[in-house]
Amino acid sequence: VPALSRLEDAVSIDESAKEPPEDPPYTDIDSLIRAEGPKMYRLAVGLLRSDADAQDVVQSAAVKMFRNWGKVGALDTAARQRGYCLTTVGNEIKQLHRKPVRSREFPSLPMEDDWVTELDFEQWHLHARSLRKLWNAIFKLPEMRQQVVISYAAGYEYSEIAEMLGISVSAVRSHMSNGRKTLRSSLPEIWEEYRHG
């Protein structure tokens, strides 16, 4: 796992440079996966909280992209391809949780999470349901915003997301703020519930 960048990194990014740096796209799937696999994995593990599931998700996402290489390879920057990777991982996670055995749980809710250990099963179940609603709403956001929001939820900092997707930190901030607004208005009760823990 790459060292997590801290607040300092966010500050050190030159925000006046509006144009993203030269960013030639990957020319084949293997080099794309070699370079971006760790990011895809980190996203998946951050959302799924399980190493095995995360590896599975990344592998099936990799195969999806191999199948769609005509489309992925034609994207003009590596950042766009990276965005595609993140969306594909997101879609695979969605698929994973459509399976009947998994529908009772949802990412980000293992029993040991501190804000649920105190709860009895019924409350835990309610939490699981709210979280599922939250995730469904996140997966309905527009593509770019979804990429930003799921990356943030997976544990990436704004600066890292900006670098990853080839956009400026202020763009990330704006996506996050609009994302929050959308989620807050579509799920007011859940938003309140989590606001106070």
Partner: protein, 416 residues
């Protein structure tokens, strides 16, 4: 400016919202998570690539799963010593299954394991969408049903015979005894399970096409048009597995395409070398005959012009109308039996053979009198020949019609 700061610097916890909570949790986890397994991910892509290449070589569409090669280790029978084979035979009993038989059914209790001695089988599983898909093939020497026998008590997949299968069947209790006596065999079985698990993982990547099993519609004895199709000499030695696969999917595709207008309402079952289709009572038999007889001859002609000899299709179709009842295993009724008898009628089979027709249709006397004779379209009632069907205590009068038959002169010339 406040938004830019990571949430842990926001001060009070009350400022956090749902996304920030997820963020913090995700962060905690990614810090301690093991890394990305690059080798495995690239390996999966490589396997898909190889499967595609193999599919391209054999002319199969890439979306279909390449038939797995049977590696030496998964040949269970060959891996046993002579003494172990002897012991296995003592505990097992030999059985022969006809093409189309279901050896095991998904969800059924696992009471036996089977070693295939001769013949090919297909493994299918039902997805959450209810669509059955082929996940693997098992052939001579391979052990089937071992996973359920060792671990859980119900079958995880359905096993269907693609041709006549000779096999050794053993109860799971005896199999356990056998493994107790020969502990090294347990290793073979475990290796095989592992291998198949990885094969399954690969399968997630390569989408298998949906197979032959239709919606389970309820029939309480309404009069339904029932169609049974059968490929002439499907199990012939002139065909290889690839040919059989092509034939199976093409026959399915042709039937589906010809009945396209009503296909969604039809119940259909895979019969190994053909299909059983039950049309809802609301659709007139004349319409069904029209759909089939207009589309199939053309489709067959096109297919036979395109494919190698081994993959060419001569199709027999039997059609009758009668009450059909559905149960959890499928459909039943005298009419289903009758179509099976009609399609096996000796004069019909002989005529198909000697005249080398691409399509032969046989209908019961009642269908002939009330539909073919009345409608007169798309084929002339005079084109049908009356025959007597005499199969397994069933005596029926029926009418057959051959499409694209070769004239006796051509056949005589070819023979000389």
């Amino acid at each position: 400016m406040d938004e830019q700061r990571p949430p842990r610097d926001r001060g009070t916890a009350g400022d956090e919202d749902a996304l920030d909570r997820l963020h913090l949790k995700g962060r905690q986890f990614t810090d301690t998570a093991p890394g990305f397994d690059e080798k495995q991910a690239l390996g999966v892509i490589q396997r898909v690539r190889e499967a595609d290449a193999a599919a391209a070589r054999t002319g199969r569409r890439s979306a279909q799963r390449a038939q797995p090669q049977s590696p030496e280790s998964s040949n269970f029978w060959a891996a046993l010593t002579a003494e172990q084979k002897e012991d296995f035979r003592m505990l097992a009993y030999e059985r022969t299954f006809a093409a189309g038989t279901r050896l095991m059914r998904e969800g059924a209790p696992a009471d036996q394991v089977i070693v295939i001695l001769d013949g090919e089988t297909e493994i299918t599983v039902q997805g959450s969408s209810g669509i059955e898909r082929v996940v693997a093939h098992r052939g001579p020497g391979q052990l089937v049903g071992e996973r359920a026998a060792l671990r859980v008590s119900v079958r995880s997949a359905t096993v269907i015979c693609l041709e006549q299968v000779n096999a050794l069947a053993m109860t799971t209790a005896n199999f356990a005894t056998f493994l107790d006596r020969h502990t090294d065999v347990l290793q073979i079985v475990e290796d095989q399970i592992y291998e198949r698990l990885t094969e399954d993982a690969e399968d997630i990547a390569v989408r298998a096409q949906p197979t032959l099993s239709g919606p389970k519609l309820k029939r309480d004895g309404q009069n339904s048009t029932t169609i049974l199709s059968d490929v002439v000499s499907f199990g012939s030695r002139a065909r290889n597995d690839e040919h059989r696969r092509i034939i199976r999917s093409e026959v399915f595709e042709m039937t589906r395409a010809s009945l396209q207008a009503v296909w969604d309402q039809c119940h259909f079952e895979d019969r190994g070398d053909g299909l059983l289709v039950v049309v809802p009572p609301s659709i007139p038999t004349a319409k069904i005959l029209e759909y089939l007889l207009l589309a199939l001859p053309v489709a067959l002609k096109r297919h036979n012009r395109t494919y190698a000899e081994g993959a060419q299709i001569q199709l027999r179709i039997a059609l009758d109308v009668g009450p059909v009842t559905s149960d959890e295993l499928g459909v039943s009724g005298q009419v289903v039996v009758n179509t099976a008898r009609l399609i096996e009628a000796r004069p019909f089979k002989q005529a198909m053979d000697t005249r080398n027709a691409s399509l032969g249709v046989i209908v019961s006397d009642s269908v002939y009198q009330s539909v073919v004779n009345q409608v007169g379209y798309p084929s002339d009632p005079a084109d049908y020949d009356q025959i007597e069907v005499d199969v397994k205590q069933t005596h029926l009068r029926a009418w057959m019609h051959l499409f694209d038959p070769q004239s006796p002169e051509v056949i005589a010339r070819a023979a000389s």
